[in-house]
Each structure stands twice: as structure tokens, then as C-alpha cells.
């Protein structure tokens, strides 16, 4: 049983009140957040207020929904009305949105108990959470290792049992990669399945909000709750329900493995993924190998498109309307340049510069236009692949969580960690990362299941079946609230 349904049962059968439960999570945050640095802002008052409302409903015998009263967290780039939302950047310190993101509006209607906002790479640009203005989040399996990024705080909190679940955002792997590093489940929905309204933009054609949870059924419950069409996001279409299809038989399901996804992947990761393929075979699925040579261009295509969009999206931070403003300046241009130079971190500046470069006259055709064309080619290649298989199985990251401090030194080396996750964003497809083993040092290994457009039900079904067959891969850490 997943954490969400377990908590739901505990609340409904009155084993614990929502206020007690919320307090035990807040106590655990107090105890372990110093080491995990998962939360950048804890909101006990708001959490206890919602918990009180849930308890009142329970006391009056009213029925409660599956997510009601379940303590959770949001990545700090998801707008929360009246609650500081910083993207873990100096430039947004003090910024309190005046509206809620649609996903948070939907969850508030379900009386979700938000414990606080969680850590991330600055503006979601990074793969280790270490570009955060507040310092990186630690891995609950070994705090000398990174939690991954950019949704490192959510993954650390969920893996460390100081949130039952959380919402992250995934532009090039930012949900799946940290989920893989922290031994939890992370779903990046199809582009358009979940509204982006209120998600502070990094790269708008790639960004998507999704759940980070401890189990596949939890991911399914949260996805079903947030995947609604929203008129405030013109790219939102909504998703199809997944929960009632989780337990479908996967006999005869064709699971594809693209050989390119296994290139350059560490042996322990590759072994774990191929081991999982055997589990699928034992469940009656058919493993199909194929080639996807275009994948080797996915990473540069991703960085060109993401940085181009970021350079435009981040143009809005000018020190005038919100956030940080420099103190001493000489004229408007000087004020804006100083504000931005002092307010943005190194990696953000690097990506703005690269984005501006690929969009500038003389380079636009060679980089941006070419990357957009290749994006079309990559989409076609996936469409073709799905003619011969139902879902694609791949590693989530070529390695397990690395030690702190190793990511910062070489940007390109760090970009390479995204090699297995970015193709999904480029093609707008859904992908879920689930745990599939541990390496010799006890660090979790993740694998991802990639689906057809709006095929969340299929990949979660396949993921759930694996979880049932290999429950020992999904385990608790020493941290946090024990249910």
C-alpha cells in the first residue's frame, strides 16, 4: 500500500488525527532538515490550519478524499499565494505571489496539508540541487551525496519521509533524476497534461509539473488529481485517469529498449535495468530491442532550446516589479544590469548567455533553428519506435547520486548526467522513474518507463506491476515519520 492510502486509512479509522500527523511531520522536519536541507521554507501555521479543517470534517463524520489531510510539499518554483516563492534564487528573495499555481489550487481544494516549500537548483537549472541560493539538499540514503536536481528538495523530503509526497517540475529530468537518486518515484507527465499556470518558467516548451512519491500508486493518485485542463494555460489539455488501470495485466505488453540509452551507462545501473527487463519478461511482457541513433543529439538540442527559452523567460527579472533590486546604480540600464548580475547565480548567468548567443543574429540558424528541426526529427523517431513497442524502458540517470561538490566544477560533465532524461522533454512524452535496485554502496538506482503521448496510464501500469513483483526495491530510509 502506498503512503497516501496508508495515511488516508489512518485518518479515516481515527488511528491518528490530522493535527497529530501534521505535527509529527513538522517535528521530523525540525529534527532532520538541518542535515537534509530539503525545505527552504516551512509553513507550520498554514499546515496546522488545514489539518484542523480536516479533523473537523472527520469529527462530523464527513467523508474525506484520498489526498485530504495528507502532508506534502511543493518545489519552490510553484506559486503559492502569500507564501514566499523564490526559485531558490537571490533575485526572487522576498517574493510572495499574489495568486496560486493551478496545481496548488487543485490540491488545496482537496485539503492537502502543505508543510512548506522545498529546495531546488536555482531556477531549476542544475542536476545536483547545488546551484540553490540556499545550498543543496542532501541525499537521504547518504547525506554526503547530492539529492539530485533540480527537484532535489522534494526528492530528499519524500525519500527522507518528511513529506508523504511532493510536486516538482521537470524540464530536462528535474523530477526523474532526483527521484532516481533518492530511491523514490517521479513522474514527468506528457507536455500539456498538467497546467503550468503559476509554475515560474524556465523553458516553457519543456517544463511540466509532476508528482514525486514513495510508490507508484501514490504517483497515480496525485497525477489524477492535478492533470486537469486549465484555461489559464493555453497548452493544457488535461490527462486521462490512471488509477483504475494500475493493476491491468501486462501480459503481451511490448517493452522496448533502445540500445543508445545503455551507451555510457555505469555497469551497476545497466545491470539493474536489464535485471528489471527480466522481471518484466517473467510477468509475460515482451522485451524488444531497437536503435534510436538520433538520441545522441538530444543533449545539445536540449541545452540549446532550454537556454534559448530561459534567456527570454528570465528577461523579466529587472528589479522593478518584484524581488531583489541593487542598492547603488547610475541610470536605468545600470540598475537592471547590476540587479541581474548580483541576483543571479553563475549557472543561471551561463545559461542566459548561451541562450542569448544561440538566438543572436548570425548564430540563430546554426544553433536554434537547427535544434528545432532536430526536435522534429526526435519526435518522429519516438513515434516510429512506438510502432514496435508500447513503452520504452531505459535508465533514468547513467549513474547513482554523486558526492557533494563534484557537479559544480565542470558544467559539461554535469550536463551529461541528463542524457537519458532530456529526450522525453524534447518529445513532450511522459516518463516515470522508479527504483530498481541499489549499487554496492547502497545508493538507489532508478529506471524510467517512457510512454506515448498522454500514455501515463500505460507507464504507471507497467511501473506498478514491477513494484508488485520487486517490492524490496522500494524501501524506507532511516529518516522521518514512520507510518
Amino acid at each position: 500500500m502506498g503512503s497516501i492510502s496508508k495515511i488516508h486509512d489512518m485518518l479515516v479509522t481515527k488511528q491518528v488525527s490530522c493535527a497529530e500527523l501534521t505535527k509529527s511531520y513538522l517535528d521530523e522536519i525540525e529534527k532532520s532538515n538541518g542535515e537534509l536541507n530539503a525545505y527552504v521554507n516551512v509553513t507550520p501555521d498554514a499546515a496546522l490550519k488545514t489539518a484542523g479543517a480536516v479533523d473537523k470534517k472527520l469529527a462530523s463524520g464527513e467523508e474525506i478524499g484520498m489526498l485530504e489531510g495528507v502532508p506534502m510539499t511543493l518545489k519552490d518554483n510553484i506559486s503559492t499565494k502569500g507564501i514566499e516563492t523564490t526559485c531558490c534564487s537571490k533575485i526572487l528573495t522576498g517574493y510572495k505571489p499574489i495568486y496560486d499555481a493551478t496545481v496548488w489550487e487543485l490540491l488545496q481544494k482537496e485539503n492537502a496539508v502543505m508543510l512548506g516549500k522545498t529546495n531546488m537548483d536555482e531556477f531549476a537549472m542544475g542536476s545536483s540541487c547545488e546551484t540553490s541560493y540556499f545550498g543543496g539538499a542532501a541525499n537521504p540514503f547518504n547525506t554526503n551525496h547530492v539529492a539530485g536536481g533540480s527537484s532535489g528538495g522534494v526528492s530528499s523530503a519524500v525519500g527522507g519521509n518528511i513529506a508523504a509526497y511532493g510536486l516538482g517540475s521537470d524540464t530536462g529530468g528535474s523530477i526523474r533524476q532526483p527521484a532516481s537518486f533518492c530511491g523514490v518515484v517521479g513522474l514527468k507527465p506528457t507536455y500539456g497534461a498538467v497546467s503550468r499556470y503559476g509554475l515560474i518558467a524556465y523553458a516553457s516548451s519543456l517544463d511540466q509539473i509532476g508528482p514525486i512519491t514513495k510508490s507508484v500508486e501514490d504517483a497515480s493518485i496525485v497525477f489524477d488529481a492535478i492533470s486537469k485542463q486549465d484555461r489559464r494555460d493555453s497548452t493544457s489539455k488535461g490527462g486521462s485517469p490512471t488509477f483504475d488501470k494500475l493493476d491491468n495485466d501486462i501480459k503481451g505488453m511490448k517493452i522496448g529498449i533502445a540500445r543508445e540509452y545503455l551507451d555510457g551507462v555505469r555497469d551497476d545501473v545497466k545491470e539493474a535495468v536489464l535485471e528489471a527487463a527480466k522481471v518484466y519478461e517473467s510477468l509475460g511482457a515482451e522485451i524488444v530491442y531497437f536503435d534510436l541513433p538520433i538520441l545522441k543529439f538530444a543533449l545539445p538540442v536540449y541545452y540549446i532550446i532550454a537556454c534559448a527559452e530561459a534567456s527570454s523567460n528570465l528577461g523579466r527579472y529587472d528589479g522593478i516589479r518584484y524581488g531583489y533590486k541593487t542598492e547603488h546604480y547610475n541610470g536605468t540600464h545600470d540598475m537592471i544590469c547590476r540587479t541581474r548580475s548580483e541576483g543571479f547565480g553563475e549557472e543561471v548567468k551561463r545559461r542566459i548567455l548561451l541562450g542569448t548567443y544561440v538566438l543572436s543574429a548570425g548564430y540563430y540558424d546554426a544553433y536554434y533553428k537547427k535544434a528545432q528541426n532536430l526536435r522534429g526529427t526526435i519526435i518522429s523517431a519516438f513515434n516510429k519506435a512506438f510502432e514496435s513497442c508500447d513503452v520504452i524502458l531505459a535508465p533514468t540517470v547513467p549513474m547513482t547520486a554523486f558526492e557533494k561538490g563534484n557537479a559544480i566544477s565542470d558544467p559539461i560533465e554535469t550536463y551529461l548526467t541528463d542524457i537519458c532524461t532530456v529526450p522525453v522533454n524534447i518529445a513532450g512524452l511522459p516518463g516515470v522513474s522508479i527504483p530498481c535496485g541499489f549499487n554496492a554502496k547502497g545508493m538507489p538506482i532508478g529506471m524510467q518507463l517512457i510512454g506515448k503521448s498522454f500514455g501515463e496510464a500505460e507507464i504507471l501500469n507497467a511501473a506498478y506491476k514491477y513494484q508488485q513483483a520487486a517490492p524490496d526495491k522500494f524501501i524506507d530510509t532511516k529518516w522521518g515519520v514512520k507510518l
Partner: protein, 92 residues
């Protein structure tokens, strides 16, 4: 080839200051990233084109007048304001 002048020019377009002493280092770092991005020029030529993902099309709605945010709320986040407006900068 990324030159120091390129970086200075891009920084100006990006409204970012690069301190003189960091220019060489940044130029090198930019060159490395541009080399990495250059890999796409080895890709097979494609005229595939790209409009949008998942064939999403525009969603149109009636142009209705709805209430917006009060300016007092919006101004609360402004680092500086004057007379119910954003203050860009003080007069010298």
C-alpha cells in the same frame, strides 16, 4: 570561435555585467559549451520542422471581461514604489 568581444556583446544583450577579470574564464567556458552544442551540426540534415508538441492547438475562448488583481496587491512585491506606480529609479 567565441571571442572576448562576443562575450561582452552577449552580456550586454543579456543585461549582465561581466567583471573584466572574469572575461577570459567565461570566454573559455562559453567556447566549451558552444563546442558541445556544435555536435548538432553533425546530425543528418533535416527539414522536419517543428511547430509544437503533441499537436496541441490554440484554445480559444470568449473575450470576457474578468476582474484582475488590484494594483495595491501587485505593488506589494515591488522593491520600490511611488504614487501607486512601480518606481524604476530615483531621479538623479
Amino acid at each position: 570561435m567565441v571571442t572576448r568581444e562576443d562575450v561582452e556583446n552577449i552580456a550586454l544583450l543579456s543585461k549582465l555585467f561581466v567583471p573584466e577579470e572574469e572575461l577570459d574564464e567565461l570566454t573559455k567556458s562559453m567556447q566549451d559549451i558552444v563546442d558541445f552544442a556544435d555536435a548538432i551540426n553533425n546530425a543528418p540534415a533535416s527539414d522536419e520542422g517543428f511547430d509544437n508538441i503533441n499537436n496541441l492547438s490554440n484554445v480559444f475562448r470568449e473575450d470576457e471581461v474578468v476582474e484582475s488583481f488590484p494594483s495595491t496587491e501587485i505593488l506589494k512585491n515591488a522593491p520600490e514604489q511611488a504614487e501607486d506606480h512601480f518606481l524604476v529609479r530615483n531621479r538623479e
